[in-house]
Point group: D2
Chain length 296, copies 4
């Protein structure tokens, strides 16, 4: 699959809407509307709080009261509370910006579209492929319950999901992975969330490079999972590191949504739905927390 | 308008969907779907970045690279970037949780539903009315372009929007403020965003108590504006502080969406639309940044 | 021992020097100078870095580059690096301000000198007994190597050091604990620093209330230890929580220096020395990291 | 003056004492002791608090309560307070580590001793010349009250202090700048601290390159000032940026102490004293806040 050049268009402004990587310009088309039958809404976000699993290479989460009700007596009878929030963008339910992952070519890290990572980053963040470029994400969503398709509650630790696994799941669920869609993969690993964080972070089932190729050939818009990496973790030690991340994000502009909560949606056995996620447009950041939903 | 008791239901879990304050349980009903004509999507979020206006009583914003592409040579050829993000929840486009505002009654601050603020807060945040309770927000949206209704580009500094102003705008736009809707008020103050932050933060046009009563009588779900306070700022020095915040949030469970970007939507002159916002479920926090959209 | 009223003197200014709790006004007297024989300097600070032990009720440590050499090409040929530093004041080698600990009296928490904790704290920190009140600490220091006095490399987990233990150590070392001095207690627990953080944080040998009484009767200026709490941890479950902290800090104004590194000083078997620590004057904070030294 | 190669010695451990740049190994020698006459102690630190001046390229200061007395009812009758402290290392009274400044040579930034800045920095900080290398600073201090020597209360904005200015001040004060000493320059700019931060940060009097050469020829250990840069600010636009920083730190290993409070010391007209500063050993950081003292 050829990588596509992402044309830079100058600083993103409030209200701008455009494509990002392999994601189309958002539009709520009749085809998408036809996915809505009951109008029921499923929240696919894990609660964001201290104690959630995340990779130690990321900064720590902190949610702490700053001003408490009663601190400003001059405002009486009104009172105000607020807090300090330090978020590790890549812990909790989030979407990766394409600035998150690069690949060394000719000795230098490159981002999607052949952009030099070094020239795109300084202490203010990234000037290309940063989170301020995120459009609203409004797509057909397809849930692939790989665990259920294998008659399992949860996939084995570090299981590598192949193209054949996806094909078998499509057949069992009677769905087809299509172009411009959000593919959500359920492994069952949510059961380890905050219960066995080491397992959640370090032994996640996920796509191997074969599974990633399968999805890229279908030209999907993005891929999500109920795991921290979407990718099989650890990746195959015989091959290069992070093969799925580099293949999907850097080569194909297909980004990841990680640490989704999919169990209630899977229990409803509704495999096709309207998927909406609204990433925060944080200037120069490598991703954003999101609260994605499925409308069935 | 009587305040309603909000029944607490134990810790919110991933996937839980319920009402919050005056917001209904989310459902994409046929009535809401009928608002979608072209399917065009408007982004109503200001870009989140250093230099945006926010009230000094809130913690500072910080978006700073942490790991840069090339920092982990063992991962070659893959490279990874991430960052530290410290967000002032109440700066930038955001929605207030009901834990944000209280009112002193019998000498003690109370939140919506008569909950004691003191007993609901500790160093981990709020145990009631915190952001983890946010449902997806899926509502009929109504834009009230108060500035345009007065044939102005921007309302005067500190202008107090009355019920009569709203009524006149409804008439001019041929719309009616209805129950269970998101009402978005345009003052034109976005022109001062990052250009004249002092004016944006300290002299915002906004609802006065009369305008707030008008909206509460219509039993709306939430009210937003293209200003930092939604409320006229400063409020009337003759009356109690923060009269609109306390009346709407504490007495009526009608929350605020602040610092919206409404100019492109207003330019389209489409005053009724499908409004979607997906607040992050941050445990115990007093609000969340959002990237709200209007689908017309 | 009667508690002493600490007279508040208005906001501390740069350069102000005064007493703090039981610490005298600093002066390098001939008596103190007589402690200096070789002039050798011992650093008593543990390196401050991620991965150090600290109690989970404190915010996380973060030391992360912000600007890197090369980020500001306009400055060439000069280059600049800096960082973001988030410090948990009570992790790492530090001194407690008297604002750190209170005791409930008549239903309300009180600080040293009968000051109401509630009226002294708001979102800007403490208006009484905060770290900006710290004078330079210049005292006679006495090392009590309790472990060595018992012919041990390290005291048993959670061992409670009694007055009799201190008396026996004084005798063995041929020293006497005196008024206005800094008493540094060595337990040997530094061996667990970053090696067994759980043990360091949760099973520290330390003063029990009997040992604390012994030191307070000698009217010392402050007490330090090579442990996280100075106090036996956990404290005796039959008695009230934090008995040593409340007795020393709240009742006697005798503050704590925690997580000292004493092994090299102890190896030199020099038990009396000039002790210097220079706490940062952080407005309203409950303590400060320090780099204390012993000059022998 | 030739640059000296700083030999790296592996990770610094707690208790290690060694030299740093041009600073000698600390020892309280008889020569230093002879500087102590009255034993009086002067605090040379500005209070560290929100609202202090610092350069916008540095992260913001935050001192905010985290746990408040009463938050942990299980500890009653004991109560505990602590806070979140985010420190901009280069705002407030601080000492620069040699990792702070580099100079591009052969196209790459180099630190003191010819160390490659790029190879010495990653997301954990600096592996060379970081703050964990700081020894206790125990030196003869010499105050040069340049303002008073010119019969001024405060030097003119952006005044460049020359070697001749220093020579004249030495003569007037009857002192000599000597090898291995801490030279503290008083400009009078403390009067702008928190009163006119823009002036303090952006128009500071300070050393020009001629003055820096004069001090380096004397082979001093470090230079401090009551300004944010020590160096004349802005520097001469005809020459290279940051000429004094690069000459002193990178070429000579002579570090800076910035934003000192010198007014009370200057009022005492005691120009030679024992200078002590005890920098925190923060792994990989580019400096440390300090509370320096003069003992006269």
């Amino acid at each position: 699959m050829p990588s596509k050049k992402n044309q830079q268009r100058g600083p993103i402004q409030a209200g701008d809407i455009h494509s990002f990587g392999n994601m189309p310009i958002p539009k709520l088309t009749p085809e998408l509307l036809s996915l809505v039958r009951t109008g029921d809404v499923f929240s696919l976000e894990q609660i964001l709080e201290p104690g959630i699993p995340f990779w130690p290479g990321h900064p720590p989460v902190l949610i702490a009261p700053y001003m408490r009700h009663g601190d400003l007596p001059d405002l009486a009878p009104a009172t105000v509370g607020n807090e300090i929030v330090n978020l590790p963008i890549h812990g909790g339910t989030h979407i990766d910006a394409l600035a998150h992952i690069g690949k060394i070519k000719n000795g230098k890290p490159e981002l999607y579209g052949g952009i030099s990572a070094e020239s795109a980053m300084d202490n203010t963040g990234f000037t290309a492929h940063g989170a301020e470029n995120f459009p609203p994400v409004i797509l057909k969503g397809t849930l692939l319950d790989i665990a259920a398709a294998k008659n399992l509650d949860v996939l084995p630790d570090s299981y590598g999901i192949t193209g054949e696994d996806i094909r078998a799941c499509e057949k069992k669920q009677n769905v087809t992975v299509e172009k411009n869609t959000a593919v959500l993969i359920r492994t069952g690993f949510s059961r380890y969330w905050k219960v066995d964080n080491d397992r959640f972070s370090n032994k996640g089932a996920g796509l191997n490079i074969d599974g990633a190729h399968y999805l890229a050939e279908r030209n999907i818009a993005l891929v999500g999972a109920d795991t921290e990496a979407v990718e099989q973790w650890p990746f195959d030690p015989q091959g290069p590191p992070l093969p799925v991340h580099t293949f999907l994000l850097v080569e194909n502009g297909i980004t990841h949504v990680e640490s989704l909560y999919l169990d209630k949606l899977a229990a409803a056995k509704t495999y096709e739905f309207l998927f909406i996620a609204l990433p925060l447009r944080i200037r120069g950041a490598t991703g954003s927390h999101i609260h994605p939903i499925a409308i069935t």
